[in-house]
Symmetry: none
Subunit: 221 residues, 4 copies
DNA sequence: CATGAATGAGTATTCATTCAT
DNA sequence: TATGAATGAATACTCATTCAT
């Protein structure tokens, strides 16, 4: 239960490491429990119990239940960023990057349904206290995609649309897809979903010239 | 619940209409307060206060806070059905019906943002107690649209796709749009949104022949 | 449901009769429900429902839940008096009267276990508000028995004991018997119990001369 | 509930004694208040106030008002066992043991009238939820007395009666005595009561030979 | 008389947070 | 640093009672 392994020699700032190490131990369990019981119904004691530590220890690392929850959401969204970045790395073609990003997005929430729950919980509980973390995440990461879309429109590979609206609408479709899919709890396969989504998106956005390449953009990988 | 008949004495007759009348008085206020404070943070006392009645009276008409909340959601979704039905009534062309329905959907939640809140709250609070009301609503109402989509595919006006997947993906897009739009609290105009959505949807679904009519399907009314 | 039969001609004070008639309809049901659910957990509405009348009607005949309950206890104790008086009527021998009275006492509570419940409930709920009804009943009815006991002591048929203490101890034994027997809910037979009790009582109270007649006093009837 | 051991950190060690120590502080006050106000009318807050602690602390040691109450009853009955055992210790003669036990029983409830209240309250409130604690207590402790009574019958010191019935009837007499005595709130002296009771019991149970020793068994000590 | 809609006081329990050890 | 005992604010729901019809 205590993987306080990799202790290096003295002289190292042990405390700082220990702190983030503990956080990394706490957040996954917190995510799991918040997702399964909901924010309001989650007892911090239960999280401590599952970790085999005392409730006070949780409060050492997170100043409040709210902060703990928000840290869990943050961690979830950071994971999404990582997954998307990894998926597009090394892909030179921008359109294929978009396709890969969309697939990575859906795959991530397929593998981490708890994060969907956290997003919904956050919205429900902190309605007026806080801008949704997923929107913050979007704002932080959307810039490069705007560039991509603008280029694609300019170069004639995309129809001449407004890039803000395009990314917005695609975001809506994507979040709508994960929300309704996991709300439905039908465990629908990620693969078929992402192909449907890509099909709708690209058939709608591609220029006639690029439409000829549709199959290529839709191929799974 | 109402064996009003075989009573003997005179006494005040049980007013059958009074009940539904009171419910209609209570639900809008309940909707408003649940939406603005969230389910958990709403005190039934506050609803009663706003109505100028006693808390016990609320409990006279709704057996529990939960039932009151769910009745409010139900009422919200019933309103959506009504709005959609009204919007397509008298429109003979099926594709135009689809366009009208999509616009009515977005318009409804534009006019009733509280209902979006209720849907999110419901999902957050009653995760495992209840199938989301909006899914029940979808299941009750989706049948005719499946027929429409099938016909349109058969007649060649739509590309030959699976009607279940089409309606599912459009649903995802629509719910995603209302969720993210109102989550963002940016009060984005309904009109631009619906045009974007219709644009994406029809550019993706229409056959080449029908694409020529795209502008007609996108026109506001 | 309305046995408003025996209406006589006008000019008779109908109301008074109707009132006591209604009370007689209400009290048995009230007794049953109070006994089965306890005073605190009994909802007056439930009593009204079982009677097929409105709650307000119950309040027409009894000013409060407490008065209703106490009336039910009273009715139970009045029934006990009646049963005991009936059992001794026509029995000339005083000792046999005592035996009959003890048997009648036990038999009554055997047939009316609800009354035992009411006595306990009364004691638990109205501890300091009211002298227990069964004690009032005892005080009202004990006088003649004191005379009997005194006579029996004087005449040498009973050992020379104090009649107050004798009746007190026998009362204790009797109430203790019904309390513990019905508390135990073992449905023990009344007959064996009353024989045991009489055996103890008379073996303890009878003079040597009367002990020869013990079997006669213990015989069932 | 207490895996105090395999904890890692230093921190305040869980004080095992503290728990039972606190319980011992809480139960007497709880007993007093439950007895004086009745179970239903007792507010846990009041118990906490009397103890000078927070309501939450009471719930720290007892999971519910019901458990707290039942613990108080249990403690009361445990006290009875202790008192009876202490009273018979060192007394070799079985009949004198019986006399001492009966006196100890009456003396205990004379000194602890609150426990009588608790027994009645328990019966009234938890009628169908729980076997009365005093019956459980009786079942746990009656066995040795059955042996004593059987021996006394065999050896001819008692009349040849059934030991189960004898102990049952004596129990009825004893519980009836404490119930009615304290119900009456007349503060009758314990001594005269126990002598009356013993008088009735032994005059009924003793063989003719032992009856000669009656005075010896009735002497106070 | 009978009814039943309306009232609102009353209460057990939970749990985030603190802080002495 | 880790602990867990102590705190006390916060809240849904019940039901005796009233009274307009």
């Amino acid at each position: 239960m205590t993987n306080t392994l990799n202790r290096r020699g003295p002289g190292r700032p042990r405390n700082l490491e220990l702190a983030s190490q503990r956080c990394e131990e706490i957040l996954p369990i917190a995510t799991e429990i918040f997702a399964s019981k909901g924010y309001a119904s989650t007892d911090v004691q239960e999280i401590a119990d599952r970790l085999g530590i005392a409730k006070g220890t949780v409060y050492h690392y997170f100043p409040s239940k709210e902060q703990l929850f928000l840290a869990a959401v943050d961690r979830g969204m950071a994971g999404l960023s990582g997954a998307i970045n990894a998926s597009v790395a090394g892909e030179p073609d921008t359109i294929k990057q978009i396709a890969r990003a969309i697939r990575a997005f859906l795959k991530y929430f397929d593998s981490n349904p708890d994060v969907v729950e956290l997003i919904v919980q956050e919205r429900a509980e902190f309605r007026d206290r806080k801008k949704p973390t997923y929107l913050e995440h979007r704002e932080r990461n959307i810039r490069p995609w705007h560039e991509h879309f603008r280029s694609l429109c300019k170069s004639g590979r995309f129809r001449p649309l407004n890039e803000e609206q395009m990314t917005q609408t695609i975001s809506n479709l994507l979040y709508g897809t994960i929300f309704t899919t996991y709300f439905a709890r039908e465990g629908q396969a990620f693969e078929s979903l992402s192909t449907q989504v890509l099909s709708l998106v690209f058939a709608g956005l591609l220029s006639d010239a690029e439409l000829a390449n549709l199959d290529k953009y839709l191929e799974f990988d």
